[in-house]
């Protein structure tokens, strides 16, 4: 059975193709359109998925949208009615978007793909998230916990998944949900906006800013919340505006409590102690709330395993606390925890619900994106006029690149299929030596042109990870996908200075040799030269841009940045034009395609 899952219309549009229960291709639209968080019907991603599988749209058995649009509309109308007469602007903007496109999800899919209406299905938003975690996990029995801003009505859910027997009979059921406006994702987003970052884009920045402060405002944040003994909570809406204002998340009362909001992307927030303390406070409360929700999932289901998805599941600091304190033996987190991941979850759920005995699947690698031929890489380098050499095999590639890294060079690394999810895990990465503290500033300032306070992640050979980081148990799965932080061992911090944050933590990726053999070989080669079997690994993009996909994207990003070398497939260039390409400004156009508040 061939099932195409789709997410679009809000942010992070994506397509995922599942054939007989196995995902064969998945990619967000932004990788192809080059507009970050592109929310439009993902025609390019669909074309890629079909081409990768050698299928035509007519070959599909089902196309599944990742949420129920009419149920979502009912929530928006209820919000407008409940907040009348303050919600006029929100009503006008939301209804304009709905009349224009969102009411017609089914017909738009039918028209774009030429499929019959009976082949178009709809999976609830949080069920899509839950399926994206449980049906990719190694578990036969698990609790599911999904937490994000908002889907239709649900903002969080607890469920249970089971699959057993030779036919992999599955049962994935959501048991309870929290509903709008009571939302951990929207609470965190309100602080993201207050701290001067873009909602749905800047949450990582809040998480990165938090260690610079102390959570002295945690009690003020807790006053916004009415907690219950079962981990659920209600928000006091007097502090917020997201439910009635299309462009504002927090109210005047919010600013009276915490001081004036930071102007959008102004100055360096790490220089402002007050802002750092606010970031630390919301991060702490977020962790507490996530722990409460996870413990309730444990209590209700009795399962020893947890599957986690939704945008809040990408909070790596909170995930580390769940790993240590939530009481589960194992936790599996969907690497594409945000809305893009909903496309995969919807497709997997439908493949199991509609198909007969699909194959058992466990996501061991995120390499579900596009792959490009060596000829394309050579053509892109030639078109840019860059001198390059072709290396003979992986050993020479790793040897040459590790030599450059050990000399303090910054290298663009474009190998194999692109990654599914927002983390670069050694397929589309910018790499550097993790030892010297100055490397962090170099990569932030000269390579990625982003905020100086933001930390970088290390990628380390899985077998060596426990020697360098304080990992819970034996480096569980979340670390394979860079989804949780861990403390760098105190006696090793001076040798991992570029990838250890101010609080001694790192968002570490453990490189499994079976999962990423080439990347593992590179880290090993680097370890042979430096004594540290790890590399600084950051996504191959510039600030405000999507991660590169094609060799041409990689070359143009290389030219627009200060990288020293670029390895694309078997080719290596260390040449640079005399005049670097001008900085690109794609974020402004990307922003117009991002509906942050879910209306």
């Amino acid at each position: 059975m061939r099932v195409l899952g789709l997410s679009f219309d809000y942010h992070d549009a994506a397509a995922a193709l599942v054939v007989d229960g196995i995902p064969v291709a998945a990619a967000p639209e932004e990788r192809f359109s080059r507009l970050k968080h592109d929310r439009r019907l993902p025609l390019r991603s669909i074309a890629f998925c079909l081409e990768r599988a050698g299928l035509k749209a007519g070959d599909l058995d089902a196309v599944v949208f990742y949420e129920k649009p009419f149920r979502k509309l009912s929530r928006i109308l209820a919000g407008a009615v409940s907040t009348f007469p303050s919600s006029g602007a929100l009503f006008r903007r939301a209804m304009g978007a709905w009349i224009d496109e969102r009411l017609w999800v089914g017909p738009r899919i039918e028209s774009a793909l030429g499929v019959a209406p009976e082949k178009v299905f709809y999976c609830e938003h949080h069920l899509s998230h839950a399926a994206s975690a449980f049906l990719c996990s190694p578990f036969d029995d698990a609790a599911t916990l999904t937490v994000d801003g908002v889907g239709e009505w649900a903002t969080a859910s607890i469920g249970r998944g089971r699959r057993a027997g030779p036919d992999h009979a599955f049962d994935l059921t959501l048991e309870s949900e929290m509903r709008y406006p009571h939302s951990l994702g929207l609470l965190y987003s309100a602080f993201t906006a207050y701290l001067g970052f873009e909602v749905n884009e800047g949450e990582y920045k809040v998480m990165g800013l938090a260690p610079y402060g102390v959570p002295r405002h945690a009690d003020a944040v807790r006053r916004m919340i009415e907690p219950f003994a079962d981990g659920s909570f209600r928000l006091d809406l007097d502090w917020f505006a997201f439910h009635k204002d299309p462009a504002r998340s927090f109210s005047r009362k919010f600013e009276q409590a915490f001081g004036p909001a930071r102007a959008h992307e102004s100055g360096d927030p790490a220089d402002d102690k007050r802002l750092c303390d606010v970031a630390a406070s919301i991060q702490l409360v977020c962790e507490e709330l996530m722990l409460g929700l996870a413990k309730e999932a444990r209590r209700r289901t009795g399962s020893r395993n947890l599957c986690l998805a939704g945008g809040v599941a990408l909070n790596a600091v909170s995930n580390e606390r769940l790993l240590r304190e939530a009481g589960f033996d194992s936790i599996w987190i969907q690497p594409a925890g945000g809305d893009a991941g909903g496309a995969l979850g919807a497709a997997l759920y439908a493949a199991n619900a509609l198909g007969a005995a699909p194959a058992r699947y466990e996501m061991k690698s995120v390499a579900l994106g596009a792959e490009h031929a060596a000829a394309d890489a050579a053509a892109a380098l030639k078109a840019a006029g860059l001198p390059f050499v072709e290396l003979k095999g992986e050993d020479e590639l790793c040897d040459r690149v590790s030599a450059l890294l050990s000399e303090g060079k910054v290298v663009g690394w474009h190998q194999g299929r692109s990654e599914w999810g927002p983390r670069s895990l050694g397929h589309r990465s910018i790499l550097a030596d993790p030892r010297a503290a100055g490397m962090k500033d170099t990569v932030n300032a000269k390579i990625k042109f982003r905020e100086m306070y933001r930390p970088f992640a290390p990628s380390i050979c899985a077998g060596d990870a426990a020697d360098w980081f304080e990992l819970p148990a034996a480096a569980p799965d979340p670390y394979r996908f860079m989804l949780a932080t861990a403390k760098t061992r105190a006696d090793r911090r001076d040798r991992l200075a570029a990838v250890t944050h101010v609080d001694g933590s790192s968002r570490v990726q453990t490189i499994d040799p079976a999962q990423s053999p080439l990347f593992h070989k590179l880290a090993k080669a680097l370890g042979g030269r430096t004594g540290v079997p790890a590399t600084l690994n950051t996504s191959f993009n510039l600030k405000g841009e999507p991660i590169v996909d094609s060799p041409a994207d990689a070359v143009s990003t290389f030219l627009a940045s200060g990288m020293d070398a670029l390895a694309v497939g078997p080719f290596l260039t260390t040449g640079r034009p005399e005049n670097p390409a001008p900085r690109r400004q794609t974020w402004e156009s990307s922003k117009t395609l991002n509906d942050g508040l879910g209306w």
């Binding site: 949208f65 009419f70 919000g79 409940s82 009503f91 006008r92 299905f121 048991e175 009571h182 809406l237």
Partner: protein
């Protein structure tokens, strides 16, 4: 000549979109005050709490109805 025509057509269409957007905003404003408003006031008089923000509560969890997985996928609402 052809590019002049195309540019002219593009301007006409851009103008039409702007006019349609303005008319849409006026119509939606009317709907908001003439339809949403009375519904909101009526529901308020009846004490409805559509967002679950008022009154005492012991939990914010809502049970999710169990449904056949296949049937669950069929409707858009």
């Amino acid at each position: 000549m052809r590019s002049h025509l195309q540019e002219g057509l593009r301007r006409v269409l851009a103008g039409a979109v702007r006019i349609a957007t303005a008319i849409g905003a006026v119509l939606l404003t009317l709907v908001y005050w003439l339809v949403v408003g009375p519904v909101a006031l009526t529901l308020r008089l009846l004490g409805a709490d559509l967002l679950g923000v008022r009154g005492k509560a012991a939990t914010a969890w809502h049970p999710v109805e169990r449904e056949d997985p296949k049937k669950r996928l069929e409707s858009a609402g």
